[in-house]
Symmetry: C2
Subunit: 210 residues, 2 copies
DNA sequence: TGTTGTGAAGTATTTCACAGCC
DNA sequence: GGCTGTGAAATACTTCACAACA
């Protein structure tokens, strides 16, 4: 039913789910047209995206809102909780785990690590910051599945390798380097400065074109 | 020379520039092969990406490191400073403007706004947080070019519209909504929870496939 | 009637492969 | 001899358009 789904489709699926949030009419239906209008895409694209995972619309009617929502949650893998560890107790990591959506989407921060002795032992949210030296033991005990890697580039490879060794399944990487982990481990890179660069690129291009 | 450059190419250009950072051998050269190895792409892709902007390699030799670096900086529009304002003095925005790369890439935070009276007037870095009500006046005075929009979704449309009205040229948007600005204004959306969803999607898919 | 699901057509992006130049 | 620049081929992604059906 599903083979190789492009990243662009996954992004759109997240959007569709988010769009559904605005719907109070639980028992109602949405058409691909309506969904398309809320994301910036086309009705055909919506239908194609969804069709990769089965056909759960009703011709002439659209998609049942409540069913579509639960299907999307299942497809995105957020119909169950995820045990997440934050490594690097800086601002970004903290921003992320404090997002209301973080918890609302089923991500649960079960451990926070840092190597700075001044930070170790402090409270952060409902967690006490642990010494990064205890990473393996703690991650195994707590059955961590996802790691948010928010450490300096120099430390990132090491932390990633150790996390993968103890069975972590995926990494959200804020370090501006390409992690060298086995291909079975998905890594999602986030680089905020790069996003700014995309902006200055677009503006410069437009200016140059006149 | 350049027409419509895909987003994927722009991302890779940023990577190439970042790769060059590791090079001490300023006067030396890099081949497309080496560049490809540092990003996760192919030599042909590197050459194609660069060829959109002219041909500045030497056959048989590769690209001069120092020249390539300055070309990339020019292409990405970071061969000049950018005047940036942060709207929403929460953790993410602060994380971003405190990144060493933020300044190193020429982005200069010239104003910070928030609507929370408890925050207005406080210092943050080398800035005093301004009342969001004064946004138009301050942005015009300070000739802000880029806005980092890190406010709740409800406020985002309004802030974006006001910023565009006073001549802002681009927006980095952390609010999980589609901003409704004129098409000439580039908007770069960042949604960290969506990145996590891409991760749980990938893992769930792999698990389902067995 | 209205809207899905989907092959087929159309675009966009990547990869190939090789002539051309250092 | 080595490596770029680039058309041409291959692949990936999106849009079209329409049969199927609630």
């Amino acid at each position: 039913m599903t083979r190789k789904i492009p990243q662009s489709t996954v992004r759109r699926l997240s959007h569709y789910l988010r769009s559904l949030e605005g719907f109070e009419d639980e028992g109602g239906t949405v058409s691909s047209e309506e969904l398309a209008a809320r994301g910036q895409t086309t009705a055909a694209q919506v239908r194609k995206d969804l069709s990769h995972f089965g056909s759960f619309g009703k011709r002439g009617l659209g998609y049942r809102v409540d069913e579509l929502r639960s299907r999307l949650r299942h497809i995105l893998g957020i119909d169950r909780p995820w045990r997440v560890a934050l490594v690097g107790a800086g601002r970004i990591g903290r921003a992320l785990i404090e997002y209301p959506d973080f918890r609302a989407r089923g991500y649960e921060c079960v451990a926070i690590f840092d190597s700075d002795p001044d930070k170790v032992g402090r409270r952060l949210g409902d967690q006490t910051i642990r010494d990064a030296a205890t990473l393996e033991e703690a991650m195994e005990d707590l059955q961590v599945e996802l790691v948010i890697l928010a450490v300096p580039a120099e430390a990132a490879h090491d932390v990633a390798a150790r996390a993968v060794d103890v069975g972590v399944k995926g990494i959200l990487n804020f370090a501006p380097i390409r992690l060298n982990v086995p291909p079975r481990i998905p890594v999602q890179d986030v680089n905020l400065v790069m996003e700014l660069e995309a902006l200055s690129f677009a503006i410069s291009q437009a200016e140059e074109a006149g």
